[in-house]
């Protein structure tokens, strides 16, 4: 069950990411990122993070992607054109990304003996999947960071309003 979920939604996430890379129009890239985020939400759920799965759907693929699509529509962004810089970026980008992927997956696969296996969501451990534990941790030990993020969001809202305002 968990393996089937992982294969189906992992392949969906991977296909969405590749589609993001290959499409030339920003709106298609944004919509394939929505596919990646929704399949990642399913993977979070299968790893026992129900709250994060819901937050992923609501915050990422709801709020943030709507903002992206709104800006793409507002600026009427068209197809990107090939330039001098894009040829240089191709010759650096693909080998660099492949090298980083090879390094990361070598480390992960060579250490797989010390990494354990995962079970499907509900019966993970008594604590991890529980929203109560998450919120108790968030509102007791992590209270200061939690409050600081609210200030951060306030600053971000003010900054966005100031930056996006039309010059007088």
């Amino acid at each position: 069950m968990q393996l089937a979920l992982f294969i189906v939604f992992g392949a969906l996430a991977l296909g969405g990411a590749l589609n993001l890379l290959l499409q030339r129009h920003p709106i298609y890239s944004a919509l394939s990122l929505v596919v990646v985020m929704m399949s990642l939400a399913v993977l979070y759920w299968s790893l026992g993070a129900e709250f994060l799965a819901a937050a992923q759907v609501i915050v990422y693929s709801g709020a943030i992607m709507v903002l992206f699509v709104f800006v793409i529509m507002l600026l009427n962004a068209g197809k990107e054109e090939q330039t001098q810089g894009s040829r240089a970026a191709y010759s650096v980008g693909f080998p660099g990304a492949a090298a980083i992927f090879c390094l990361l997956s070598f480390v992960f696969l060579s250490e797989r003996g010390s990494l354990q296996s995962t079970n499907i969501g509900g019966d993970l451990s008594s604590a991890v999947d529980n929203i109560a534990v998450l919120s108790a941790m968030l509102f007791t030990r992590q209270l200061l960071p939690f409050e600081v993020t609210s200030v951060l969001i306030l600053v971000a809202i003010l900054g966005a309003v100031v930056l996006a305002r039309r010059e007088q």
Partner: protein, 100 residues
């Protein structure tokens, strides 16, 4: 039963695709989208490790990453808006005021 290493390798794939898109794309909005893809890939490793260690700290970390990503998206898109308003382009090769 899925080994945790598979989740980590999937996250590594998504992260490398994000890096490739970040380097290759010339549209500033698409570059921003690939940053979000990289953040999501890192979140997947956090959730996988939180599951492996039976600790809730990883999930808290992902929560904070989501909040910061939301703030970053709002400010970044506002910056993109004002860039487009002053320069009438979204191509990063043409936004080179500090280059010369």
């Amino acid at each position: 039963m899925v080994p945790t290493a598979y989740y980590l390798v999937l996250a590594a794939m998504l992260f490398s695709i994000g890096i490739a898109a970040f380097l290759i794309k010339r549209n500033v909005i698409t570059i921003f989208i690939s940053i979000e893809l990289m953040l999501n890939a890192v979140n997947l490793t956090f959730v996988a490790f939180a599951h492996m260690w039976h600790q809730v700290s990883g999930q808290i970390f992902v929560f904070f990453v989501m909040v910061v990503a939301a703030a970053e998206a709002a400010v970044g898109l506002a910056i993109i808006l004002s860039i487009f308003r002053t320069r009438q382009t979204l191509n990063v090769d043409e936004i080179d005021l500090m280059k010369s």
